[in-house]
Symmetry: C2
C-alpha cells in the first residue's frame, strides 16, 4: 500500500484479488477503522499514521474463549489505577482469554482489546483499548502477555493462512490515553463522562460492515455457480442414444432445479448488495444530518440480509460441489476450499440465528406500533397496507400469471405480514414478553426469514424497473427474478398455504411455471455465468475452466501431486513390502 501509494479503495480492491485470508485483512479492515471510529482526534493523529505506514501491525481482539456473540458478557478487565494514571488489562479467568482474533497469533504488534472498564470500583461495560503486544525490536511478547495461534481450522487451505490467535493478560499496564475515548472519557481522577457523539453511530458502522458481507456473499455464490454451471455443460452422464454421446448433465431437470435457483440467487444477492451500498450512503447522510428516523430499520434490514445471504451462500457452495459429482470433492475443483473459507461468514459479525431474532423483534415492534399510527418506513413500509394484506388471497388463475411481478410481490408481502401478525398475537398470550420471545423464537426466526426474502425479491424487481443495457439481457434477468421468487415460494409452500395467501392449486401452478422457466434459462446459462467475468486464475477451478477443457487439465493436475514425484511410494520398503512378503513384524502393528 505504502510502496505503491494506493488509495484506501484501491488497496481494498487489490486485497480482494489476493483471495486468501491474511493478517492484513484485520489490520486494514478492523484495527484501523476501530481507531478511526472510536478514537479521539488526538488518538487518530497519533496512531493512524503508524498503522498506515505499517510501522505497527494491529488486530481486533474482542471475542473470548467463552464468549462470542454476547459482547456484554466479555470478562477481560481494564481497571483504572489513578495512582499511576494507567489501565491494568487483565484476564481473570481461562474463559476470558481472547480467542479467534485474526492476525493476533503470530504477526500483530498491537491490538484493539475490548475489556470491561472498571474505575472507582464500578463496572462501566465494554470498551476498546490500544495495547502493544510485541516488542517492535525483536517481536518478543511484552511482559505479562501470553500469545499464540489457536490451531488448525476447517479445510486444507482456507483460513489456515490466517493466524487466529489466543491472548492472555497478566496485569498489563497501559497509559490512560490508550483507551479509545470518542464516546466515553475517563478523566485523570477516573471519572467517566459520555461525549455528545451520538451512540447510534455504532449502528452506522454495523450497516457498513454487514453490507460488505452481503456483497461478499454474492461474489462467493457467483463463483461456485460459475464452476457448477460450466462443468454441468462439460459433464455427460447416461442418456446415450444409438451410441451417441451421453446427455450433458445440465439438461437434466433435476440438475436445473438445483442449479438455476442458485444462479438466480447469485444475481439476486448482487442486486440487493448494490442496493445496500446505496442504503449505507443514505444512512450516513442522514446521520450527518442528525436524522435517526431510518436507522433502526436500516440496521434490522442489513442484519437480516447478512443472515439470509450468508446462510444461503454457504449451503449453495456445498450444493454446487455436489452438483459437480465426485470430482467436486477434489481440491482442484476449487469448491472444497471455497466452502471452508466461506462458512465462517455465518458466524462472524453476528451469528445468523441471533441476527434473525433481532430482526424479528424489530418486525413485531413495528407491527405493534401500527395501531398507534406510527408509519413503517423503508423495507417495512408494506406493513402500512396491513388491512389489505391481512385479507389478501392471490388471484392467480393460470401458470403464466405467476410471471407478473405484482402477483409475486403481493404474495410475498401477504405471507410475511400475516406471519408477523400471527407471532405478535401469540406473544400477547405470555404474561412476560421476554418469556414469550424465548418460547416463540423458532417462529420468530421463520418470520424474519419471510421478511428478508421479500426484501431480496422486491429489490430484484426494483432493479428490473431500470434500464438494462444489452440485447435480451433484461429478459434473462426477468426469468432469473421469477425463478428466484418461485423457487422460494415452492420451498416455503407450507407458509404460503397455511396463511391462506395462495391455494394448493395456485402453488401447483407456481411450480409448473418455475419448471417451465428453466427451459428459458438453459440456453443462456453459460453466458449468464460468464458475465460475472471471473478469470480462470481467480476461480482456481479445473472444473470451472472458461474453455471447458476439463478432463485433460484434471489429468495434468493430478500428476503435480507430490505423491507422484516417485513411482514407488515412500514407505514401500518399510511397510508394504514386508506386508506382501508376510514378514511384517507384529510388534510394529
Amino acid at each position: 500500500v505504502n510502496e505503491l501509494n494506493l488509495t484506501y479503495e484501491e488497496a481494498t480492491k487489490l486485497r480482494f484479488f489476493i483471495d486468501e485470508p491474511t493478517f492484513t485483512d484485520l489490520h486494514w479492515g478492523m484495527f484501523v477503522p476501530a481507531i478511526k471510529g472510536q478514537g479521539t482526534e488526538e488518538q487518530q493523529e497519533k496512531w493512524l499514521p503508524l498503522a498506515q505506514k505499517m510501522q505497527i501491525i494491529g488486530c481486533y481482539a474482542q471475542t473470548e474463549l467463552g464468549h462470542g456473540s454476547n459482547i456484554q458478557g466479555l470478562e477481560t478487565t481494564a481497571t483504572f489505577d489513578s495512582k499511576t494514571d494507567e489501565f491494568v488489562i487483565h484476564s481473570p479467568t481461562l474463559t476470558s482469554s481472547k480467542w479467534w482474533p485474526g492476525g493476533l497469533g503470530k504477526v500483530s504488534t498491537h491490538a484493539v482489546v475490548y475489556a470491561r472498564l472498571i474505575t472507582e470500583g464500578q463496572d462501566h461495560g465494554v470498551h476498546g483499548f490500544i495495547v502493544q503486544l510485541r516488542s517492535l525490536e525483536d517481536h518478543i511478547p511484552l511482559p505479562g502477555i501470553t500469545v499464540g495461534d489457536i490451531g488448525t481450522k476447517f479445510g486444507n487451505g482456507g483460513y489456515n493462512t490466517m493466524d487466529n490467535g489466543v491472548l492472555r493478560f497478566n496485569h498489563v499496564r497501559i497509559p490512560r490515553n490508550q483507551m479509545l475515548m470518542r464516546i466515553l472519557q475517563v478523566s485523570r481522577e477516573g471519572k467517566c463522562t459520555y461525549s455528545d457523539v451520538p451512540r447510534q453511530l455504532i449502528y452506522g458502522t454495523m450497516v457498513y460492515v454487514r453490507q460488505t458481507i452481503v456483497s461478499d456473499a454474492s461474489i462467493a455464490l457467483s463463483r461456485a455457480v460459475t464452476i457448477a454451471t460450466r462443468y454441468s455443460c462439460v459433464r455427460r452422464q447416461f442418456g446415450s442414444q444409438n451410441g451417441g454421446p451421453e446427455t450433458q448433465v445440465i439438461d437434466y431437470k433435476t440438475q436445473q432445479n438445483r442449479l438455476f435457483p442458485l444462479l438466480a440467487s447469485a444475481y439476486a444477492f448482487r442486486f440487493v448488495a448494490e442496493w445496500l451500498k446505496w442504503l449505507y450512503g443514505d444512512v450516513t447522510a442522514r446521520l450527518n444530518a442528525n436524522d435517526f428516523s431510518m436507522l433502526q430499520e436500516a440496521h434490522a434490514c442489513t442484519a437480516g440480509l447478512k443472515s439470509l445471504t450468508t446462510t444461503a451462500t454457504a449451503d449453495a457452495i456445498e450444493e454446487c460441489r455436489k452438483l459437480c459429482g465426485g470430482h467436486g470433492y477434489l481440491c482442484s475443483s476449487g469448491l472444497p476450499e471455497l466452502f471452508a473459507m466461506y462458512v465462517p461468514a455465518c458466524t462472524y459479525e453476528g451469528d445468523n440465528m441471533v441476527l434473525l431474532l433481532q430482526v424479528a423483534r424489530f418486525l413485531v415492534k413495528t407491527v405493534s406500533q401500527l395501531g398507534s399510527g406510527k408509519q413503517p418506513v423503508g423495507t417495512t413500509s408494506y406493513m402500512g397496507r396491513g388491512e389489505y394484506l391481512m385479507q389478501y388471497h392471490s388471484n392467480v388463475e393460470r401458470a403464466e400469471d405467476w410471471l407478473k411481478f405484482g402477483a409475486i410481490l403481493e404474495a410475498f408481502e401477504a405471507r410475511a405480514f400475516k406471519m408477523v401478525v400471527s407471532c405478535a398475537q401469540s406473544l400477547l398470550n405470555f404474561p412476560n414478553p421476554e418469556e414469550g420471545f424465548a418460547e416463540l423464537s423458532v417462529d420468530l426466526a421463520e418470520v424474519a426469514i419471510a421478511h428478508c426474502q421479500l426484501i431480496v425479491v422486491s429489490k430484484f424487481i426494483d432493479k428490473l424497473k431500470q434500464e438494462i443495457a444489452g440485447k435480451g439481457v433484461k429478459q434473462q434477468l426477468v426469468y432469473l427474478c421469477n425463478i428466484y421468487a418461485l423457487s422460494l415460494l415452492h420451498k416455503h409452500q407450507g407458509e404460503f398455504l397455511a396463511t391462506s395467501t395462495i391455494t394448493a392449486e395456485q402453488a401447483s401452478l407456481a411450480t409448473t411455471q418455475l419448471r417451465n422457466l428453466y427451459s428459458q434459462v438453459r440456453p443462456n446459462a453459460v453466458a449468464l455465468v460468464d458475465s460475472f467475468n471471473y478469470t480462470d486464475h481467480y476461480l482456481g477451478s479445473v472444473l470451472g475452466r472458461y474453455d471447458g477443457n476439463v478432463y485433460p487439465k484434471l489429468y495434468e493436475a493430478a500428476w503435480k501431486d507430490p505423491l507422484n514425484d516417485s513411482v514407488v511410494t515412500d514407505g514401500y520398503v518399510e511397510y508394504i513390502k514386508p506386508l506382501l512378503k508376510g514378514k511384517l513384524n507384529l510388534s510394529r502393528l
Copy 2:
C-alpha cells in the same frame, strides 16, 4: 488380520475403530468381495488365499475420469485375442482413464478392472478382470501401466489418507482366466456363454453394500450429534440475570429446534439400519430359495434409504458444526474432518439423485399395477389401501392427537400415496413415457423422498412396539420418534397441505406439539447421546468431551500447534521486520 487370526467380522469391526480411510478398506471391502461374488470356484481358490494373506493388495477399478454413475458408459476395453488366449486391456481415450479407485494410487499390486468385453468384434458390455498393476518384487508399475494418485481432496485429513488413484492401460495383456467368469464365460475360441447363475444376485450385493452405508450414516450422525449436544450444554451465551451465569445454549428453543430433530434422526437411522440388516438376511434367504418376488422392492427400498440417510447425515454434520458456534470451525472440534470424510457417501455407491429417481420409477410402476390386482409388497404394502388413502383427511383435533402413532403414520402414508398417484397421472399426459420421466424428474424425486421418509417413520414406530429395556428409556424414544415425524411434517408442510392430507390448523397443531416435545427431551438430551457410548478417543473432539471440561482442553490443544513451537514466528526476520521498519524490498512484493 493374519497375524491375529481374526474372523472376517472381527476384522471389519477393528477397521471401523481405525476410523480413517485406508487402502485396506478397498482390499477387504471391494476387491475380495468382487472375487467372491463374480469369480468362478477355481478363480476363488486361486486368488482368495493370496488376498487373504495380503500377499497381493487389491483395489476396485471401476469409475473413470469421464464416467461415474453410468457404468454402461465405461470406455476401457478388454479385447479377446484368440491367438494368444489373452485379453488386451486398453484405455482408448483420456476420459477412459480409471479415476478415484481407493488404494490404487500408490499401494495396490492388483485391481479388479471393469472394462467392455470385446470378442469377435462384438461389444458384450462391462465385466470385471483381475489385472496385476505392480511388480511384487519392487512395486514398479508393469509395462503398459501408468498409475498415480489423483491429488488432494476436501479436508485437511479426511480422505487424504487414502491414495485414490488414476490408471491407464496401453494394451496390457492378461491371461483369459483372469476375467471374472461366474456370470459370463468366454471360451478358448472367444465365444460367450451365460451361466445359469441368476443375474439378480447383483441386487443382493447392492442391498448388502447400501445397508452398511445406512448403518454408517447413523454412526456418523450420532457422532456429530453427540458433540453438538454435549457442547451445547457447556456453552453459555446471553441471558445472564443479576450477574449470574449466562444461559446454556441448549436451553434456547432455536437451538433445540435445530438439534433435537437431528438427535431423533440419529436414532431413527439406527433403527432403520437394524431393520435393513434383517431385510438383507431375508433377501439372501429368499435368493437361496430362488424366490425373487421381494427383490425389486428390497432393492428400491435400500437405494432410497441410502440416498435419504446420507444426504440428511451430510447436512446434519455441518449443521452440528454450526450449532457449536465459532469453535466448531476448529479442527479440534472434530466436526470439520467428520464432514469432509463423510460427504463422499452422497456420491459413491449410487449418486443420491440417481437413486431417488430409481425409487420413483419403482413406485410409479407399483401404483400403475394396482389396477391389475398385483399386490404391493414390503414397504409399499400401504399402497394396497389406496382407495382409503386417496380419501384420507387427518382427523387430528388437538395438539396431543399428533402424539398418536396411528395419526402420524396415516398422514405420512396418505401424503406419499397421493403424491405418487398424482405423478403417475401426470406421466400419462406424455406420449413417450421416457420424456415424461425426464420432464417430471423433479416431482418424482420429491415423491421418492416422501416414500422413504414414511419408511423411516414406520420402522421407528415398529421398533417401539417391541420391549425396550431400561426405566423410562422407551418413553424417551417415543418422544424422539414423535419429534422425528413432526419435524419432517413441519418441514414438508406444503406437501401435506397441498395433498389435503392435513389442514392449516392441523399443521399448526403439529408444530405446537413438536415444540412442546423439546421440553420433554431437554432433561435427557445428554443421557441420550451418552448412550451411543462413544469414547472420547473415538469422538476425537475437544468440544464433545464426556466430562465437559472443554475450555481448558481447548486452550491446551492450541498450544500443541506447531506454529507455537517458537515464540517469534518463522519469517519474522524475512518479512515482518522489514515491513515494520519500512525496509521491505519492493521487488519482493
